[in-house]
């Protein structure tokens, strides 16, 4: 007789938990559903009534999307700029920060602790504080309103260094010695032997950096000025006017900005989760 009531209790609390998480998932997903639905409605409708879940089949169409493709907008220029910045900054960031992390993990040298301390300091000071002097510096370097200026100052980011250092300290040392005996240069050892072994760390950090770069706001907002140089988030933000005259591009364009990220997320979920929680690994 004993196990029976226990099982009943088990079922009830499972169902309650399930309900709770269904509600939370709805909370998480429905804003995205709402904007996707909104992107299929005429922009005048959105301006007049805001975003809602009303389904009026006669109003739904792909007109907003076809306007993005055929109309007179800079949308795809922004898209292209965002892709260029994301790809360049991610590749450069991975190359450089993995080198630094590896150097800090594998070698014993005088300044090692000092440099690692500096990495931690960069990590602990909010970047917003140095926006103004960086803005001045970017001006004097002649990088204002350029794509390079929009990502260069933050390419050697502290979190990936931290992460790569941790990963590299777990690499097998005997491979290092074997490669040295074989006559490999120190840099050669890194690129030919050790770097391939760090592939999992590369995929997590690639996602962290690429997503950060794709969604980055404050710094590109400061550096980029002319419409043909804007990134997607900055470009979209310029469309948000009280008159709502650009809402067609704004809403459909927002959906198209999330779309590639969602698709990648579906395929590489594990790396997204690893990459985006990387900072907490050490806790």
């Amino acid at each position: 007789m004993e196990p029976k009531p226990k099982r009943k209790k088990w079922k009830l609390s499972s169902i309650l938990l399930l309900l709770l998480f269904i509600i939370i998932s709805i909370f998480a997903l429905f804003p995205l559903v709402a904007i996707t639905l909104g992107s299929l409605k005429p922009s005048t409708e959105i301006l007049r009534y805001g975003l809602n879940l009303k389904l009026q089949p006669d109003l739904l169409s792909f007109k907003n999307y076809s306007f993005i493709f055929t109309g007179d907008t800079d949308y795809f220029t922004w898209y292209k700029n965002s892709i260029i910045i994301t790809v360049c900054s991610t590749l450069l960031c991975l190359l450089l920060t993995s080198m630094v992390g590896y150097g800090l993990a594998v070698y014993q040298f005088k300044l090692k602790n000092l440099i690692f301390g500096l990495v931690l300091i960069v990590m602990m000071i909010p970047v917003e504080i140095i926006m103004l002097p960086l803005y001045k510096l970017t001006m004097s370097l002649g990088l204002m309103d350029t794509l390079i200026g929009a990502f260069l100052p933050f390419v050697v980011a502290p979190i990936p260094i931290f992460f790569f250092r941790q990963y590299a300290s777990g690499l097998p040392r005997d491979l290092l010695d074997a490669a040295r005996v074989d006559g490999c240069t120190e840099v050669g050892i890194y690129f030919r032997v050790m770097m391939p072994l760090m592939a999992p760390a590369f995929s997590s950090m690639a996602i962290l950096q690429a997503l950060g770069s794709w969604n980055n706001f404050l710094w590109p907002l400061i550096v980029l000025r002319s419409s043909e140089n804007l990134t997607l988030p900055i470009g979209l933000s310029t469309l948000l006017t009280p008159y709502g005259n650009n809402y067609d591009v704004l809403i459909a364009g927002s959906v198209m900005a999330i779309f590639p990220v969602l698709i990648l997320y579906i395929f590489f979920q594990r790396y997204f989760i690893e990459g985006m929680t990387a900072g907490g690994v050490k806790g």
Binding site: I24, I35, V100, V106, V122, L132, P242, G280, V281
Partner: protein, 306 residues
């Protein structure tokens, strides 16, 4: 034989094979970036905060920038940022912690599905999130939230035009965007707790509550401190959320103005780099004080450097 020794010697002397030079080559990118894009700006902003920076003419004005900081607008910005940080901490630590415990429990079905679903908002940019929330919380009668509240007899309102409701929208947006990722942090922390601890507690007849307060909570302390830290930093440096909800850095009566918003307004929009730097230094001091308090209470650095 002799040749080989010679070759080896040559190799030893060659920079490419030197184990002394190699680490400096590897860390060089960081040193360059640190000096140019971190140390130099930090020093410059500190100096500029005592200056009036005009094109072609810069002069030291002592503490004048800091004296000028004592004005209602900046105090409002500090207040907004602090209130926002307070509420995000109040919600975004306990709630994800409890949800992670639930998600980790044996009673839960389809864990991965829910974990993935709650994480999706973290993928969207603040810009897109801001656009969506601005429209959901629109003042129109038919806008999503107003139309959802109408059946309960609640009058439609312009959520973004009032100080307390606009703060509410900002906190809801933060909850939406960061809940999933904080759940993941706590899940990672939970998975590091050895199962044997719970098993032996069960043998001793400990209740679910006792297990939660005596095993789960203490062992989640390190990850909680981490989430606490990043939430404080994120809270005090919030800017884009407010910028997007109002479509620009301007909000009615500055109800959405944050510290970084004020820095942006003074430094970039009004091109007053000296005064803007003083705002930045104030933000630095606030974050340093919080870090020091943390250092004292939690000893975070000891953990970090292990």
């Amino acid at each position: 034989m002799d040749d080989q020794v010679q070759a080896k010697k040559k190799r030893k002397n060659n920079l490419l094979y030197s184990q002394k030079a190699a680490p400096y080559f590897f860390v060089l990118p960081f040193i360059l970036s640190f000096v140019l894009f971190f140390a130099y700006p930090v020093v410059t902003t500190f100096i500029m905060s005592f200056q009036e920076v005009l094109p072609g003419k810069t002069s030291f004005i002592g503490l004048a920038n800091y004296q000028e900081l004592w004005n209602p607008t900046f105090l409002k910005a500090i207040r907004n940022s602090s209130v926002y940080t307070f509420f995000t901490l109040l919600i975004l630590i306990p709630l994800p912690l409890v949800l992670a415990v639930f998600l980790n429990s044996k009673l839960m079905f389809a864990k991965n599905v829910f974990r993935s679903a709650t994480f999706v908002p973290a993928l969207t940019s603040v810009v897109v999130a801001g656009i969506i929330f601005r429209l959901i919380f629109g003042g129109q009668e038919e806008a999503l939230l107003n139309s959802m509240l109408a059946p309960f007899g609640i009058e439609p309102r312009a959520w973004l035009n009032n100080a307390s409701t606009s703060m509410f929208v900002l906190v809801v947006l933060a909850t939406w965007k960061w809940m999933g990722i904080n759940i993941l942090y706590f899940l990672a922390g939970l998975q590091n707790i050895p199962k044997e601890l719970y098993e032996s507690a069960e043998v001793d007849g400990a209740s679910t509550w006792r297990k939660f307060f005596h095993i789960t909570m203490p062992l989640l302390k390190p990850i909680s401190i981490y989430v606490f830290t990043i939430s404080i930093y994120g809270g005090f440096s919030m800017f884009a959320e407010s910028y997007m909800l109002y479509g620009s850095n301007r909000s009615p009566n500055n109800i959405g103005l944050t510290i970084v918003g004020y820095l942006y307004q003074k430094g970039i929009e009004q091109n007053n780099l000296g005064f803007g730097s003083a705002v930045g230094i104030t933000l630095l001091v606030i974050t340093l004080i919080i870090t020091l308090i943390q250092l004292k209470f939690f000893g975070m650095f000891k953990k970090e450097e292990q």
